[in-house]
């Protein structure tokens, strides 16, 4: 078991009002899983993903990653964990606008103090892996949305992390590009066997996952397990309402 969440809560204060982004989530994630997190806007999907990526600490409960409780780790340890174990993909790509595709990928290796030569070599390999070898010297503004997201994927993968965490990775893309990106993520997941956690509104994207969970107002509402396996071909995902009826 890679993750074990026990009664995890996250409470924010917004304009003197308390908001429970997560209200007692119990969840386990195994190594090599492709988990899709779904839910309506404000349901706590992104908050849960940030907890899983050690970007934030829970307000309550226990969040174990490889047996270590992230809620009790210091900022420095969390930073180390992020640089060694997680790769992030964001909806808005979050590339540094002044750096080229190659340099953007290299930023992920900066915390490791990788020698420049090796850094360049690994970044070039990662870009080649996502089919962007010829765009290495272009800055984000010179690339399409799909290409930018591929750069972001290369940046997430260059450190060969144990977990890839993607927050609406296709949210800003058209349908065709969406298919390309999800196809790429799925291929990498199959080939490298990393754990992939994707937050998405898109039912089709979620249908590619090996497991799906639904969040509603910070609570784990329903779960669909075993619809697909690693080796299986993708199948259309059931509608949320149907899924909720089938599981839990």
């Amino acid at each position: 078991m890679l993750y074990e969440l026990t009664d995890v809560t996250k409470r924010y204060r917004q304009r003197r009002k308390q908001v429970d982004a997560l209200a007692g989530v119990d969840l386990t994630i195994d190594e090599g899983e492709f988990l899709a997190i779904q839910g309506s806007t404000g349901s706590g999907k992104t908050t849960l993903l940030q907890m899983l990526g050690a970007m934030d600490r829970p307000s309550g409960g226990r969040l174990d990653f490889e047996g270590r409780d992230l809620a009790r780790m210091g900022e420095r340890d969390l930073s180390d964990l992020r640089s060694h174990s997680f790769g992030f993909i964001f909806q808005g790509f979050n590339l540094i606008p002044t750096l080229t595709a190659q340099e953007n990928v290299e930023t992920a290796l900066v915390p490791w103090h990788t020698p420049p030569e090796e850094r360049r070599r690994r970044a070039a390999e990662a870009l080649a892996g996502v089919g962007l070898a010829d765009r290495a010297r272009h800055i984000p503004a010179e690339m399409s949305g799909g290409e930018q997201q591929r750069v972001a994927i290369a940046r997430a993968l260059v450190r060969e992390p144990r977990v890839i965490l993607a927050d609406e990775p296709t949210g800003n893309l058209d349908e065709r590009t969406r298919d390309d990106i999800i196809g790429l993520l799925e291929q990498l997941w199959r080939e490298q066997g990393q754990t992939l956690v994707v937050v998405t509104h898109d039912t089709w994207v979620a249908s590619r996952a090996s497991r799906r969970i639904w969040l509603d107002r910070g609570r784990l509402e329903s779960e669909l397990i075993g619809a697909r396996r690693l080796t299986e071909e993708p199948v259309p995902a059931p509608e949320p309402a149907l899924a909720a009826a089938v599981v839990v």
């Binding site: 940030q50 934030d56 420095r76 640089s83 540094i96 606008p97 002044t98 340099e103 915390p111």
Partner: protein, 480 residues
């Protein structure tokens, strides 16, 4: 990666970076210009003091003239005989500097014997008044009557008054009045006294072998005004002196027009064995006040002046400029620096605020807070270097403009404003005009660069600290 990231980021927001650098530059430029101005005023003050002392002179001694010893020059224009009516005349009157009483040369030996005294010399400073013109001529009335005076010097008075009808018959002629200041110099020690800071521009310096010679030095200004050159002669009260050198004294110096051997000055002014100004050099700066007290004990009626006394007597526009530079300049430069630092800090924080998403992403990638602080500091320091360069350049230009456009500074030393005293004492006050320079030293440039970098460090440190405190989740949430 660090430098690539720094320079690309600055290039992306080059307008804001330039604005930040300009803000720092303005602050630094003001510090450079104001400090250069203050240094210039300070230099001017030193020039004034030097002009009155001469290099190496620590104390001057003079004695004020008693009331009844002072008097204006009187010239009678009445011809000695009727045959002289309408004829030319040329008269000179030599007088030691007004307000200064002669002191016996024996005092020099007595002062030299005092403890702490390294050297003593004396000089005679005198004025030569020359009046030239034609005697008045009576054109009508009684031919036996003597001609009436047609002119007098500054305070000359008429003699032999007559009726108005007689005056109306007298033909007036123009009278030329000129004045010349002369210093008699002891040629035994030229390192002390009125010629100690002089430089020869042509000809030669006076030497000890000239002690009894009829030789003179003239200042360049006087030589130019009177078309004199080396080899020419100058007649003083009937004695012709050969000009052996043209002399230049430092800017702001209140010099005499002519310098002649002391013995000749004593002879012309009828002051054999006397001087009216004594120059003393002390063993060290520490014993100046002690030597001053000893001289005061020796010569209770004498005026003993040290450089500290002179500094306190400096008044006029130079003093005002010095006060302005010290007070207003310091506050102005300080306020400009604070404003520049504040603007730089605000712009940096504003830039950081616009890059929350970027820094949040980097933190999500595992970048440590100190790495992000370093990145922001690096960008800020580059702006600081640009600001320093621009600021120093602007400051130098500003300092040059101040020097170019500022009027000459005037310093008044002594009791110029004394009212009701004897005329001589009033004239003893001296005004010296000096041109303002605004020197920008390497030290000042180093300070300016240091200030700009300090400003950048503060701005970058503050901005970087704000960026490093961001939690990745908060940073990403704020924009998502």
């Amino acid at each position: 990666m660090f430098f690539t990231y720094v320079f690309r980021e600055l290039r992306r927001r080059h307008r804001q970076a330039l604005l930040t650098a300009l803000g720092l530059a303005v602050g630094v430029a003001l510090v450079v210009a104001v400090t250069a101005y203050a240094d210039g005023v300070s230099t001017a003050q030193k020039q004034v003091l030097q002009s009155l002392y001469g290099v190496g002179t620590d104390i001057t001694v003079s004695q004020q003239q008693k009331m009844d010893q002072s008097g204006a020059q009187r010239f009678s224009m009445q011809p000695p005989s009727q045959s002289k009516q309408g004829k030319k005349f040329d008269r000179s009157a030599v007088q030691t500097s007004p307000g200064q009483q002669s002191i016996s040369s024996k005092r020099l030996a007595q002062i030299a014997a005092l403890s702490g005294v390294k050297g003593v010399t004396g000089s005679i400073q005198m004025n030569v008044m020359n009046v030239a013109g034609k005697y008045a001529q009576a054109s009508g009335g009684s031919s036996s009557q003597a001609a009436q005076p047609s002119a007098s010097s500054s305070s000359g008075s008429s003699s032999g008054g007559s009726s108005s009808s007689q005056q109306s018959q007298t033909q007036m002629s123009p009278i030329n009045v000129s004045q010349l200041t002369i210093s008699g110099v002891d040629l035994g020690d030229l390192g002390l006294g009125p010629l100690s800071s002089a430089q020869i521009s042509s000809g030669r310096q006076l030497t000890s072998s000239d002690a009894t010679g009829k030789v003179a030095l003239v200042t360049r200004a006087y030589a130019k005004q009177n078309s004199l050159k080396v080899g020419d002669t100058k007649k003083i009260d009937g004695t012709r002196f050969t000009i052996v050198g043209i002399v230049v004294l430092p800017s702001g110096t209140s010099s005499s027009d002519l310098y002649i051997p002391l013995k000749w000055a004593q002879k012309l002014s009828d002051n054999a064995g006397k001087v009216n100004q004594i120059y003393v050099k002390a063993d060290s700066a520490k014993v100046i006040s002690q030597v001053r007290s000893e001289i005061k004990q020796l010569m209770p009626k004498a005026t003993v002046t040290t450089s500290a006394d002179l500094a306190s007597q400096v008044s006029g526009s130079l003093s005002s400029a010095s006060t302005l530079a010290d007070r207003l300049g310091t506050w102005l430069a300080g306020a400009a620096l604070v404003a520049a630092f504040a603007v730089a800090s605000l712009l940096t924080v504003s830039a950081v605020a616009r890059r929350v998403r970027e820094f949040g992403t980097l933190k999500a990638l595992g970048w440590k807070g100190r790495r992000i602080v370093g990145q922001v500091l690096g960008e800020s320091m580059v702006q600081g270097v640009i600001g320093a360069g621009l600021g120093v350049a602007l400051g130098i230009v500003g300092a040059r403009l101040i020097a170019h456009f500022s009027p000459a500074l005037k310093a008044t030393l002594g009791n110029a404003g004394t009212q009701g005293g004897p005329p001589g004492v009033q004239q003893a006050a001296q005004s010296v005009t000096v041109a303002l320079t605004t020197p920008v030293s390497l030290g000042l440039i180093a300070i300016a660069v240091g200030l700009a970098l300090a400003g950048a460090l503060i701005a970058g440190g503050f901005g970087g600290w704000r960026a490093s405190r961001l939690r990745p989740a908060d940073a990403l949430r704020r924009v998502d």
